[in-house]
């Protein structure tokens, strides 16, 4: 951990692309802000700007991180405030430059400036393990690793754990994303325990596959803003754990969406049988 006063800098990374890193960054940001905390979410994917559309703020981007790096504007003034959630703001990526246009030192400088104004700086890292990843990890007090329970994603996650530790950062905490309860129940998906046993890291949260994420992202509304969704609840639990609360993991149970599902869950063996829906 870094001894500097101010907010905590947390980098969200994954190695493999497409596992839900940007969605996780947006929703962790929203969920922390809804707890009354001040949050700046930073799009670290320079050249492939995405976080603004996922958060529904794409029409309000004036300045981006490159303006800050070049000294055209202060980091705090470049933030786009999210009018739906008090305390939440975004520092967008530049869409027309390259990852190599920003150095790890410059990224540290930007995030150090931001941490004076917020409780949390959340950096959405680009996929891969190259310069963009190194830029995103350099300022971090803590790294959160997002993966899905698939062989390719978990293998990449293992590599990232090694790189994060080699960078002198604490071992990352894991968000296991897009768990499909019906596949786990059938034995056709690795369980949370399997993945933790393989990666040997501690768990920050489990997020079930949830169609409402797609619908919410289509609308530019992070699912953590939508009450009543399972994935949204999972992100609120993750935010609570980041803030230091002890919240039990969301049970991975099959959604009893129809009569068939309900009958089926009555007969399903194992610890998931009680439904345990929260």
């Amino acid at each position: 951990m870094n001894g500097t006063a101010g907010g905590r800098i947390i980098t969200i990374t994954s190695g493999k692309g497409g596992v839900g890193k940007t969605t996780a960054s947006a929703n962790i940001g929203v969920a922390l802000a809804r707890r009354g905390l001040r949050v700046a979410v930073v799009d670290g994917d320079i050249g492939l700007r995405n976080l603004d559309v996922v958060m529904g703020l794409e029409n309000r981007v004036v300045y981006n991180i490159l303006h800050v790096v070049r000294g055209a504007v202060d980091a705090e003034r470049a933030l786009i405030r999210d009018k739906r959630v008090a305390g939440l703001s975004l520092l967008a990526a530049d869409q027309h430059s390259d990852k190599d246009d920003v150095s790890p030192e410059e990224m540290i400088e930007v995030c150090e400036a931001l941490r004076n104004h917020v409780d949390y700086v959340i950096i959405d890292s680009p996929a891969g393990i190259e310069q963009g990843f190194r830029n995103a990890v350099a300022p971090a007090d803590e790294v959160v690793l997002v993966t899905t329970p698939e062989v390719s994603a978990v293998r990449d996650a293992d590599r990232v754990i090694g790189l994060v530790e080699a960078a002198g950062k604490p071992s990352p905490r894991l968000v296991l994303n897009r768990i499909k309860p019906e596949l786990v129940a059938r034995g056709d998906m690795m369980t949370t325990e399997d993945v933790l046993d393989i990666l040997r890291v501690s768990i920050l949260g489990v997020v079930p596959e949830d169609g409402s994420i797609v619908a919410a992202t289509n609308r530019g509304e992070p699912v953590a803003l939508v009450d009543g969704s399972r994935a949204g609840q999972a992100f609120h639990n993750i935010a609570a754990r980041i803030a230091g609360e002890d919240v039990p993991l969301l049970p991975i149970t099959v959604e009893d969406t129809g009569l068939l599902g309900r009958i089926s869950s009555l007969f399903r063996a194992g610890p998931a049988a009680d439904g345990g829906r929260s």
Partner: protein
């Protein structure tokens, strides 16, 4: 598994793909973490055979070198009868 079996939570098939995934990953990560390729492992085996044969006679069985869980490199080397006669 039939639809009815699945509906009533029938027993897991012996080769549930989740377990296969876990076991394959464990193995591949042992190699990743040790920064070893199967080809290098073959080379190590050949080097071991050469080194050991300088001192003792090897038996007929296969010399096996494998990476085990926890990053342990294990070699199994069958020795020939003459081994016990040598100094």
């Amino acid at each position: 598994m039939s639809f009815l079996q699945r509906l009533f939570g029938g027993s897991r098939s012996p080769a549930a793909s989740g377990e296969v995934a876990r076991d394959r990953l464990k193995l591949v990560l042992e190699y990743d973490r040790a920064k070893l390729t199967p080809a290098q492992l073959d080379q190590i085996r050949d080097d071991i055979i050469e080194a050991i044969s300088r001192h003792v006679t090897l038996g007929n069985g296969q010399v096996e070198v494998k990476l085990e869980a926890g990053g342990r490199l294990v070699a199994e080397i069958p020795l020939g009868r003459a081994a016990s006669d040598k100094q």
